[in-house]
């Protein structure tokens, strides 16, 4: 049977729900040898700043059990070089491009968004308010509903693009920050970014990461990500959601859809297997066909939970 994989997320229409996550997919072009960029639902590019950014001194990464820590520090070519040198080729290859944007302060975010302007080659803007690896900006916005609200309002006023806000999991109440972003004008949410972690070299008793802490990603964080997607979906039934965190297989994709995500972003797994995201599109179609699911969107938010009293032992 022919399965309909298309996704409508408010004004944002995707070919399918398999996108790739910012910070794990470069500017997309690096993957052109390994998959068809036009076959993906969307590509969220490396976080763009007003000016080029060198990032943090190494060591920047270390492997952990079922995942890794990173503190890259948002190294990127800057929005101008992206628009001039990367976007034309990305667009020519037929990619649906999400511009991930970050800054130290509100005016930096606004400056990047204004620089993008009304460029139709960009399908959506994704605000990174959740990077744990920079001293200013980043997660400082994502951890505080008031600061987040003020930022999103300023960016909202500066762009007519679909505005996605990528949330930090390093909060007590994910629903409060999600609500603040939506009330301030976000069209959609991405969750989750990395969880702040620490790894230690016992021989030297120093952190394995130069920045001391880093963001944990990979399969280790998937249960946390699923829980947060589910909580936000319950509280905000209408808001379009990109779910992400440790997706490696088609079953993982479907888990996120069932928890309430309309689409997913493949992240750290792109490092291990640069062909994976492309393969998952076909596998999702096959998974749905085998189970007579006519539209992938029919799976969204279909988690069946029982009242917790039922779980008590008699």
């Amino acid at each position: 049977m022919a399965v309909d994989l298309t996704v409508q997320m408010g004004r944002l229409r995707l070919k399918n729900p398999i996108a790739t996550a910012s910070g794990t997919f470069g500017y997309g072009l690096e993957f052109a040898d390994y998959l068809d960029l036009s076959a993906l639902g969307a590509i969220s590019v490396k976080g763009l700043s007003r000016r080029p950014c060198h990032g943090n001194p190494p060591p920047r990464i270390c492997e952990t059990d079922a995942g890794m820590l990173n503190a890259i520090g948002l190294q990127n070519v800057g929005v101008d070089a992206f628009l001039a040198e990367k976007l034309p080729e990305l667009h020519a290859k037929g990619a649906t491009v999400i511009a991930n944007v970050w800054g130290d302060a509100e005016e930096d975010y606004v400056a990047v968004v204004e620089r993008i302007g009304a460029d139709r080659r960009i399908a959506a803007i994704e605000l990174n308010v959740s990077c744990p690896n920079v001293v200013k900006g980043g997660m400082i916005f994502g951890n505080n509903p008031q600061a987040l609200s003020a930022l999103v309002k300023k960016v909202r006023a500066a762009t007519a693009h679909v505005l996605v806000v990528k949330l930090s999991p390093n909060v007590t109440d994910i629903v409060a920050v999600a609500q603040a972003a939506v009330d301030a004008g976000a069209d959609a949410l991405s969750l989750i970014n990395t969880l702040v972690g620490l790894a230690i070299d016992l021989e030297t008793r120093t952190p394995k990461i130069g920045f001391t802490t880093g963001g944990l990603s990979g399969p280790a964080i998937r249960p946390v990500a699923l829980r947060m997607v589910w909580e936000v979906r319950k509280a905000l039934p209408k808001i379009p959601i990109f779910g992400m965190g440790g997706i490696e297989t088609v079953e993982n994709v479907v888990e996120f859809l069932v928890a309430g995500a309309n689409a997913v972003q493949i992240g750290t797994a792109n490092f291990r297997d640069p062909s994976l995201a492309g393969r998952l599109v076909g596998e999702l179609s096959a998974w749905c066909a085998e189970r007579k699911v006519a539209r992938a969107s029919d799976l969204v938010g279909t988690l069946r939970t029982r009242p917790r009293e039922d779980h008590r032992f008699a």
């Binding site: 794990t24 997919f25 470069g26 690096e30 993957f31 040898d33 390994y34 490396k46 060198h54 990032g55 001194p57 190494p58 060591p59 920047r60 990464i61 270390c62 492997e63 952990t64 059990d65 079922a66 995942g67 890794m68 990173n70 890259i72 190294q75 990979g218 399969p219 490696e248 750290t268 792109n270 490092f271 291990r272 297997d273 640069p274 062909s275």
Partner: protein, 268 residues
């Protein structure tokens, strides 16, 4: 162009408890590999170790007549340990060939070059020695380790380059001269030997000393740098090194083979 393919284990040759050669089917990667290229290898089911590991393509050879690529590995952790235990026939996901190889195209007959290896840094120099020998270029090997067991694949080097061109140094004097590999190279340079280019791979202290040595002697050089990396093709930005022009460059994409003047050795 790099490819993402699955290659089977043909043979694993253990030299001692800490070192082995892993031979995989050559695949497309073997057909296009050049000296200094590397590949990313996955061991296990992907949870532990989670990430692929980067290894120099040590040689393109055959195992019982079957085209093979060889990786020379030192067991240092969970990834290198797991790869060394894979049974013959195990399919291994491999991405490669990756990175900037050693610059060799401009070498001409009559040029004399040096190969400098420290410990497991021999890995990218085996295929280089084979390639240079096939082109009829004269190359001297300077190879150092802590002891005789650290100095691997001597027979291959001596076959490609000639035994008289292979010089060794060990910390304990169990093979060759007692001392560091950079000492025996410095001695040769002081004696009037000169090289069109110095190719090197080894640990950071060796690179530091060698960078100063080749700069003082005014020699052209190419260092195959090592770094932990998650992806191997320029997107994780985890493997960077500080550069002389004040930025962070990916070892996987701008390297691994770079001139020593490219790196800011004070900040490494």
């Amino acid at each position: 162009m790099a490819v993402n393919e699955t290659l089977r284990v043909l043979r694993t040759l253990h030299y001692d408890a800490a070192h082995y050669s892993l031979f995989l089917q050559a695949g497309t990667i073997g057909a296009s590999a050049r000296p200094g290229h590397f590949a990313m290898l996955q061991a296990g089911d992907g949870l532990r170790p989670y990430l692929r590991r980067a290894f120099s393509i040590a040689d393109v050879t055959t195992v019982a007549g079957v085209p093979a690529i060889e990786f020379v590995v030192k067991t240092v952790g969970v990834g290198t340990g797991a790869l060394g235990r894979l049974p013959e026939g195990t399919p291994v996901p491999v991405l490669g060939p990756l990175g900037v190889p050693f610059p060799t195209d401009d070498l001409k007959p009559g040029d004399r070059v040096a190969l400098v290896a420290g410990g497991i840094g021999l890995a990218p120099l085996v295929l280089l020695a084979r390639t240079l020998a096939a082109r009829g270029l004269a190359a001297d090997l300077y190879y150092g380790g802590r002891n005789e067991n650290d100095v691997l694949k001597r027979a291959d080097f001596e076959r490609f380059l000639g035994p008289h061109r292979c010089r060794y140094a060990t910390d304990d004097g169990s093979l060759g001269r007692r001392g560091r590999v950079t000492d025996i190279l410095a001695h040769a340079l002081e004696g009037g030997t000169s090289y069109r280019r110095v190719f090197a791979c080894g640990p950071l202290p060796m690179f530091r000393t060698l960078a100063a040595l080749v700069e003082k002697a005014g020699l052209d050089a190419s260092f195959a740098m090592e770094s932990e990396m998650a992806c191997g093709f320029g997107v994780c930005l985890g493997c960077v090194a500080p550069t002389a022009d004040g930025r962070f460059a990916t070892i996987c994409k701008e390297g691994p083979c770079v001139p020593p003047s490219f790196i800011d050795w004070k900040k490494v």
